[in-house]
Symmetry: C2
Subunit: 336 residues, 2 copies
Amino acid sequence: MRMQDIARRLGISAMTVSRALKSDSSVAPTTRAAVLKAIEELGYVPNQIAGSLSSRRSGFAAVLVPSLNNPHFSETVLALGSALQARGMQLLIGNTEYDRRKEAELVRALLARKPEAIILTSDGHDPRILPMLAKAKIPVVEIWDLPARPIQHVVGFSNRIAMRGLIAALIAQGYSRITYLGEADDADTRGASRRLGYCEAMAAAGLGPRLCSIGRPPATMSDGERGLDTVLSAFPDTELVACVSDPLAFGVIAACQRRGWVVPDRLAVSGFGDFEIARIGVPAITTVQIDAGQIGREAGGIIGEAFDALRDLPLAPVIRPVPALPCLRASTMIAR
Amino acid sequence: MRMQDIARRLGISAMTVSRALKSDSSVAPTTRAAVLKAIEELGYVPNQIAGSLSSRRSGFAAVLVPSLNNPHFSETVLALGSALQARGMQLLIGNTEYDRRKEAELVRALLARKPEAIILTSDGHDPRILPMLAKAKIPVVEIWDLPARPIQHVVGFSNRIAMRGLIAALIAQGYSRITYLGEADDADTRGASRRLGYCEAMAAAGLGPRLCSIGRPPATMSDGERGLDTVLSAFPDTELVACVSDPLAFGVIAACQRRGWVVPDRLAVSGFGDFEIARIGVPAITTVQIDAGQIGREAGGIIGEAFDALRDLPLAPVIRPVPALPCLRASTMIAR
DNA sequence: CTGTTAGCGCGTTCAC
DNA sequence: GTGAACGCGCTAACAG
């Protein structure tokens, strides 16, 4: 069924049907009512593929995340979706699974569908995507980090500085034998930035780095449970395990509890991200607080601005930092 | 840039360029190489909107889930995506946020983009989507439940029977004062099915239902933490709290631990779904095991079969049950 | 193996 | 307020 069919049925032209479906165009109220009624009765669904080809507007933006199974990214995606919906756009989600090659393939596949904007979660990108993005001439927003060389717009925070701040705060609490537990194979990722921040904070206090890694990203609770052994064999005198993320920290804590160890008395543990489990788990987990929803909202706002600006000249690159502050909780609160 | 531009540059026709991009069509190897080289150099990205309009194949399937922030659904979506990718199709994800009206709007919006299949997470559907789906003439798969009146294909399990089985097993362990904790406003949802299963198991043992509800779906860890008070004020003699999901159960356990109560000695707790937290948390949580990935793979398989069958006549509706069995763990293991 | 023709179903643009 | 002609960029179907 096409617009033509609706039109013929009412003795009008397809163009009038098309206009009746856009709320802003001028159609006689009675005509519009008749059109909408016919559409309802016949169960007609417009073909947006044809519409997009003709109007050169696909009506959607694409977002790439490394994982859906992560409350942070899903919250960001949710907020982004709402922000874009307010501008009449849908959000198409792509999952890179922490794989740069997959990201590059996805970018290519998605650009073929002509998104009107694209949001990338900062991690090292395949260099081949840069010319593709440039040619697409659409707003690009990188989120969840502050990359050294941004592609265009950015909404995020420095994972390095955030982790450095957390470790500095823990050192100020009196900890010194702090061992870092992160993912393996994390070159050019947010995880690597966090590890660097840890190293910097340790160095600033005259302490050497104590690094352990386990599993490929994303770091899971199970990785954490196995990670405790890794940490203890490498650095048996560890006082505090600084984990790359909250779920990993939760796994370490669970492993301690299985051994009958009290956290933080026997061993302290910190995470990153302020996931729900960091607040609810017992003990509550010391972490870095991030507002994942805010990142999505800000990104949506920038895309909106970019659309408005496009009429004249492209919006100058926007770098929008969001807060990422240490939050000390029971998992590192020992009486000294 | 269009195919025409590539073609002119090489002194061939656009059609040959088009064919060179499809691996199965017959083009001279040298021609194809030249085309691919030119495309690479110029950074040409085909316009799939035009391609879809012409070929009447959009190249994607749509999946609707109630929430992305749920490891189960994200795992299902991941497996489904892989299964479809093997058939050269992309997956478009829609988030209904446990809202039937939103689901209906999404179905309409997605059908306008002509998906080649649609996967719905079973929950009560808005009746208006049925005619829309029927007219679309595409495979429809409902997942994560066994609906009484399936739309077409189904991959799932009976949430009612699964919960009934779990409660029966717990009753067999010696529990009788079992209180159910689920979401409010869960009419026609998987949550309601689970509650019904609980009631049936209790009735079968000659016990009356003890029902509590808190929060709207999805049930979160925070809901669980608050839920303990709700349960105890309504049923102070509760021995075991049967929760609609694992995160809710984890919240209840955390609340117990904050009170200094030992689970399961002072109060036992069960969940549903076998989330990672149910295995890793201490104590491990008694639950119902579901293989979320299997649901995605099976759904992808059915869609594949439906495509193959379409040449002749549509595939007869497939109802594919997946296992959902009780798994008793420490959170309900008391010495009696 | 390659080219030509003719749409796919809409929206833009103009005319009325 | 409404209609007609045209084209968006690609591919199916056929011809060669």
